[in-house]
Symmetry: C2
Subunit: 399 residues, 2 copies
């Protein structure tokens, strides 16, 4: 149950012929009525064709959409005008099949950069016709769509939050894919969320931006930023005849954060080759930017990530990563670090490794808490360990 | 032949008892006469005790030194006052043994961060007495010293340059250790260079800074910066009775760059788990800082490094790394990239993979040339691929 949890949404997924493996590669999500729509996209300058198209259409439609068409197997990035035509053509086929306006169809793609979507117009028409016929509102339909956007993901990612309190009643459901090129801002991720709450496009965009900050923008697998990152939310208001009240909107914002938070954890857990999660929390930074700099320096450090993988109490690597940030203000002799709640560095000195902290290193989630004692700002990032699995996955990805 | 190539230097290396493995862990380099001395050190805020001591002594002596004492097996970083006393004690023992001023002994350490040097005063005295007695000016003595500073290095790194033109005659020899935490500024590296040219401390420092920029500061293994990076050069003037002429100084600067360049290549070749070298060159950047930002973004990208390891013509990963630099100015549609001299990206689009470029991917050194077409500034970095070997090495380092 994910994008079909909210009322008035249909979804399906199938193999259209893009992936040579024969695995599902096309997902369709449709709202029974015109929905408010909002999106957050990659800021990579080599953004993929579908990213640009979504941004244009959301602007042109004033934040309204009916459907999302997502393909996996090709990123459709660095494909120039031809790639742009491919994406528009696909959305046109979907619009004709669903009998909706072309600019109400949002598109997204994921896969290797620089390859075009290998799908003739004939095959596309056939696949989208079948996908449209197969659409359902069951948990299985949602799962089929979630599976169809996977690349090196080992499992589908789905999350749902429901709220019901008298007249205020809604569901928020989402699906995601991730694994490599996952870093703030925006994991290399496609995320699609649907809700049956009634929310205006402007409020929907505001809620999305608020929810993405502590969730999708606070995770990292390898510090790399994809050309295709896309998070789209549709709100069709099918749950109620009235717009959300102000307090109802607050509940909705919380539910959205919950769904994106769950998907973010699932994304990092399934990071390429990851065996365990690492949570890096910084406090006492002089500015918000410095707090983010510090969590990224530690969270993206290959030495910290391999140490956690090897269950090594090698805290010097944490200090090394902090100390190397030339623009980070702190006094080394005041820094303290806890791992799993136990002191690892105190007053800039390593604390002898206890058996308790060694046990904390064996947990599925290792939390590293850093206090810079230079101010009052905080930041957090969720990442994973770096293992031989990541190397294998990425050395062989195109072969 | 390395630090003993220049006249008037003696060296030795032995197992003093710091490393549990019984491998050599103490190196001694001594100039027969008081030498000009200059150094470049880590800018990591968690700098190790010996780094601070070297900086103080070079200042106090006006850039003069007689000996370098280096140990491996413990970084002596994050060891506080106790670590500082350890380092001073060791240098005092060496000064007494060699009958030189204590502040003319420079010290350096490498190994795991946060551990103290496990050596009693008794053992230190004994070891330094033997090291002093074993000192020689042969190639074997230089090699023994180079071996005694190795940690996860698989081979000793040495380089020599000689110049002889009438009255101007000198040798420059160096040794180094590296492998992990190798990134600008300064590889995690100990580098010791000796020359018998007569150069004033001021000119020596200037030549060193000039030579470090394009060599030690332009290499990277994992984008991490050590707490111990140290490069020291001694110039004792034993080759001649006169200071270098202005043109002789130019020749000396070239020779020094040659020695540090050779050591840099050796350091990256022996990067943890590395199988091949990657040279990233950027031109057409708007500013020098942006040129450096671009080479680092590509050279430190785990996705680029694993692609080269897997011989994957996955150029989209190069674009991804560039596009993610928010502060880098360029127009994606103008960017071109060559790999091994063959076009990989042209006008922002991927060029179909030819068999020639696929062959270039099999070479021991893969050169990636990026033209941002946004200005006239250039930068280069030498790095290595990322393999399972790096993970194994770093997940198990302390075990």
């Amino acid at each position: 149950m994910s994008v079909t949890a909210a009322k008035g949404y249909l979804a399906s997924g199938l193999h259209a012929g893009i992936k040579k493996s024969g695995k599902p590669d096309l997902a369709l999500i449709v709202s029974a009525r015109l929905a408010s729509a909002a999106g957050v996209f990659t800021v990579n300058r080599f953004r993929a064709a579908p990213v640009g198209i979504c941004q244009e259409r959301l602007r042109a439609s004033g934040g309204r959409a009916r459907a999302i068409l997502a393909t996996s197997g090709s990123a459709n990035a660095m494909t120039g005008e031809a790639g742009r035509r491919d994406a528009i053509e696909l959305s046109r086929v979907a619009a004709q099949e669903l009998r909706v306006e072309e600019h109400h169809v949002l598109v997204a793609s994921t896969g290797a950069i620089g390859t075009r979507i290998r799908l003739s117009l004939e095959s596309a028409k056939k696949a989208i016709h079948i996908a449209s016929g197969n659409m359902g509102c069951t948990a299985n339909s949602g799962l089929a769509a979630a599976r169809a956007i996977m690349t090196t993901d080992t499992r589908a990612k789905q999350a749902v939050a429901r709220f019901c309190d008298g007249a205020t009643k809604f569901a928020v459901g989402g699906m995601a894919k991730g694994v490599g090129m996952v870093a703030p801002k925006m994991a290399t991720v496609l995320v699609f969320v649907t809700t049956d709450a009634e929310v205006s496009p402007q409020k929907l965009q505001a809620a999305l931006i608020g929810a993405v900050g502590p969730t999708l923008n606070s995770i990292s697998v390898d510090g790399q930023m994809s050309t295709n990152d896309t998070c789209i939310i549709l709100a069709n208001g099918a749950a109620s005849t009235r717009p959300l009240s102000s307090s109802g909107y607050g509940k909705f914002a919380v539910a959205l954060k919950e769904v994106l938070g769950s998907l973010s954890r699932q994304l990092v857990s399934d990071g390429e080759g990851a065996t365990r999660l690492i949570e890096v929390a910084v406090r006492g930074a002089r500015t918000p930017a410095e707090a983010r700099m510090a969590v990224r320096a530690v969270g993206d450090s290959m030495l910290v990530k391999t140490a956690i993988y090897g269950r090594q109490a090698n805290w010097g690597r944490i200090a090394q990563a902090l100390g190397a940030c030339e623009e980070l203000h702190f006094i080394p002799e005041r820094v303290s670090v806890k791992v799993g709640g136990y002191a690892a560095i105190r007053g800039g000195l390593l604390v002898p490794v206890s058996s308790a902290i060694q046990r904390a290193l064996n947990a599925g989630l290792v939390r590293i808490e850093i206090d810079l004692k230079a101010g009052r700002h905080i930041a957090e990032v969720l990442t994973c360990d770096l293992t031989e699995g990541y190397i294998k996955e990425n050395a062989g990805y195109l072969s």
